[in-house]
Symmetry: C2
Subunit: 342 residues, 2 copies
Amino acid sequence: MSRSSTGKVRGTGRTTLEEVAAHAGVSTMTASRALSQPQLVSDATRTKVELAVVELGYVPNRAARALASAQSRVIVALVPSLSNVVFTAVLDGIHDAIEHGQYQLLIGNTRYSDAEEEKLLRTYLQSNPDGILLSGLTHSEQVERMLAGSRMPVVSMMDLADDPTELSVGFSQHDAGHAITRHLLDRGYRRIVFVGAQLDERTLRRADGYRQAMQAAGLADPRLEIMVPAPSTIALGAELMREALETLPDCDAVFFCNDDLAHGAIYYCQRHDIRVPQDVAIAGFNDLPASAWMVPSLTTIDTPRYRIGYEAASLLLDVIGGREPRERRIDLGFTLREREST
Amino acid sequence: MSRSSTGKVRGTGRTTLEEVAAHAGVSTMTASRALSQPQLVSDATRTKVELAVVELGYVPNRAARALASAQSRVIVALVPSLSNVVFTAVLDGIHDAIEHGQYQLLIGNTRYSDAEEEKLLRTYLQSNPDGILLSGLTHSEQVERMLAGSRMPVVSMMDLADDPTELSVGFSQHDAGHAITRHLLDRGYRRIVFVGAQLDERTLRRADGYRQAMQAAGLADPRLEIMVPAPSTIALGAELMREALETLPDCDAVFFCNDDLAHGAIYYCQRHDIRVPQDVAIAGFNDLPASAWMVPSLTTIDTPRYRIGYEAASLLLDVIGGREPRERRIDLGFTLREREST
DNA sequence: CTGAAAGCGCTTACAG
DNA sequence: CTGAAAGCGCTTACAG
């Protein structure tokens, strides 16, 4: 026992496993086994140790465990935003999928910045995570290199990797963009504007899907694409709706890259007595809760963001645990919600 | 060097500080100082060590650091929900306030459950956090006991502690509920319904504020209070609006405990040609982004949730760092937004 | 300004 | 089923 008469010189002062073992009358390593691999220990021993744990109020020291076992039981999740409900839903799913007590979750907000992602990753690598959840498929070279060097499992969230051996969970952003454009075309709209903000990789892929559908219909026109790097907000949606109507007076539909923008557009139209969809149709992306309720209700793509988080974390846990997953690329799909706005 | 000819028997296999020190031609402890307390080391030494770090791609092992220093540099934040934007905004603020690289954030979702809070806390205590951020002022006895036993600083978020020596950051939920009721009374509304959902402590305090204002005006009536334990959603807001109009046909205003419910109510009224505020006024709480844009725009209380997270984390970091804060109870206030719905 | 050495609190091949 | 002992990779009072 490393106590002087005046108490511990260093350390946290908390009860240690050594003390638990002494209290239970067993060796430290037996106490350790009784807690982490109880099946390797006799019932009597396990009971003695468990009793000692309760009596002494023992709380294991995770740092010591991580150091000795070279397993941190930490997983890292990096998302581009903590104010976008899409990504907080993903985190919600991840949180629910993690076996708490076993694994701990470290969350990082990259703010849609490669540099920030790199910085966070560098910091979090200090914790020697057992695995990492990343948003998106494209990352800086530095990040790719750090990941390759660390040899720890990485799951990409949101979109599907081209390579089916890479771990990814999401749905085809391209196909979803294509599907909603196809829907507008089927409804008879011809001059369909695409409005993209933030211009992250998901928005760009949705734009690709839009473009491909328009081309297939012989209706593509670069002037119909409004792309701004500013973050998506309701206010921006209202502003861009105004802009679209002003600069493209012959447009008959607008596909916004997400619901936040589309909501702003619908509110704008309400305030200016522009009839939706009679004067102009509006479509969004993500199916936020308000979309089904607002007037008119919003046509949009329902995306499985909570499930993406949940399934991505489950997949990562499988791989960490050495369980071969049924598939390494999990397509969760999307659902077109046809509503009043189109 | 503990390498056998076949490589490390245990450990992560990553470069260690010992190797960095050898490469730089200094002792391990000097290398340690060069990195964590560079001012204690000569320029020449620091340069040599920094070079070795880069050349070897050294990444410090946080578990070893935590174990040796008895300082985890971990802070824990517990919030009741990861789908409520109020709390994800709080987390956003916390995340931004943390000096990354220094401190790491462990997030827990208590799901508005005392039992869950207790379980998460028990788990997270294994990481020996340097401090904790909790949502709300009331916790289970078990939680209070664990916190008291651990002697680590705890900051309460959202509401203000009665005891000014306790660490708390937020605003008076009671006063805010009172203020918006007062506003409705000033506008001439008399039969003001209060609708509360979830029934967490914040909702109950807002209800108290409402009740007190109604009593002061001689207009209190228990039948005007609709309280349901279900979580707040737009759908529930629509449903409760219908219920209010049906069971209390003489009501002239409804104060919803949050904007999600109020949005549902406004959409409900739009769909049923109920004029707001002419037929019935509607008020909310939190000032979500849509509130200023919807038609009619929503009267509500603007709450500083991002700043609560930011200031709470800053306060905690001050206390952890031994810096005496100017005040231990930080009132961030709230702002009444008077809009079209009242 | 720099170093030798102990120690933080666990886990784990290896024996028995 | 149980144990002795080394080791994980850092930090830190204490000297000099």
